[in-house]
Subunit: 206 residues, 2 copies
Amino acid sequence: MPARGDHDARRRDVSEAVWRVLAGRGFGGLTLRAVAAEMDASTGLLTHYFPNKRALVAYALDLAEERTANRPLREAPPGLASLRAALLDVLPLTPAASGMNRIWVSSWDVALADPELGERQRRRYENWRARLRPHAAAAVERGELPAGTGVDGTVAAAAAFAHGLVVHALFDPDAYPPARQTALLEAFLAALTTASPLPPAPGDEE
Amino acid sequence: MPARGDHDARRRDVSEAVWRVLAGRGFGGLTLRAVAAEMDASTGLLTHYFPNKRALVAYALDLAEERTANRPLREAPPGLASLRAALLDVLPLTPAASGMNRIWVSSWDVALADPELGERQRRRYENWRARLRPHAAAAVERGELPAGTGVDGTVAAAAAFAHGLVVHALFDPDAYPPARQTALLEAFLAALTTASPLPPAPGDEE
């Protein structure tokens, strides 16, 4: 039986290999064979960790969640500044953020095809919106967003805007350099601050 | 040699089978074997149409483009109403539109992993923004958007907002029923109409 240190080192090797395959080929290219080749190991060794493709995909999603959770986040004062910072944290403004986003966008294919993974993704985005919500609520309280602004609608709009911008920037980095992504986000937030408030939309829980 | 009519009928069968596989399993589940099974045919027959997986994926993208281009579109007066209609045409407001969007979102995985398919996708979105542009420009000319509004920035923001909303609605249809999607779009457009105009962003060609 290998020593504990060897075991941990091997697990780290597996994680790194899974990550490199994801970064280069996305979930569509994630196979036991590809990970084994990346590690210069046998597919047999990999089946010790992942009995099947689905286990490998679930592990890759765990890994993406872990790395997303552990990335450095911007600090900002409460209210609109925090909402802005949280949205900037998502945009592909650096190579690392582009790589992470590329992996998440790629994961949508497997998530849409598998009810369990789809539900997991649904909850991820629900949780993300829940984390944005206090920032939007504080922005209304502080008068940075017009009184009467629908907080859930603002959060849903901001989340949609940021994720759509991620997709467009990933496919066309030349048209969406970091300065333009940031300027588009600033303009989006500025429009919210000067907009006439609309009544909460259907489905909002204000 | 089969008669021309037989040939066309068989091509239609292939298209329908490819579409059903895409609709159910996305690009990740699109294989010659899956399409053959869907047609109750041999994989050998399929290789007559598609020498390899890549040819099948390219054909599936052609099919998605063709069906997207041929879907009925809303008619609207020029300006903001046309911009609104063009964005509504994209949202998953009906089962057919959800199915189409599910296929496009799924295609992003293969497109991000393949430079040629990625470039094709990049051009698709560039063309879409180019089609939205005259609507935004007309909205400024007609005074529906504030004078001085950056047209390219408005188009980029609207396209990002719509595609992000597509993704969130696909993963969480209960939280994003058609009425809420529409209300979020209306609020987004309303914010543009009342916003203080911002100078054109870097990268804009006004």
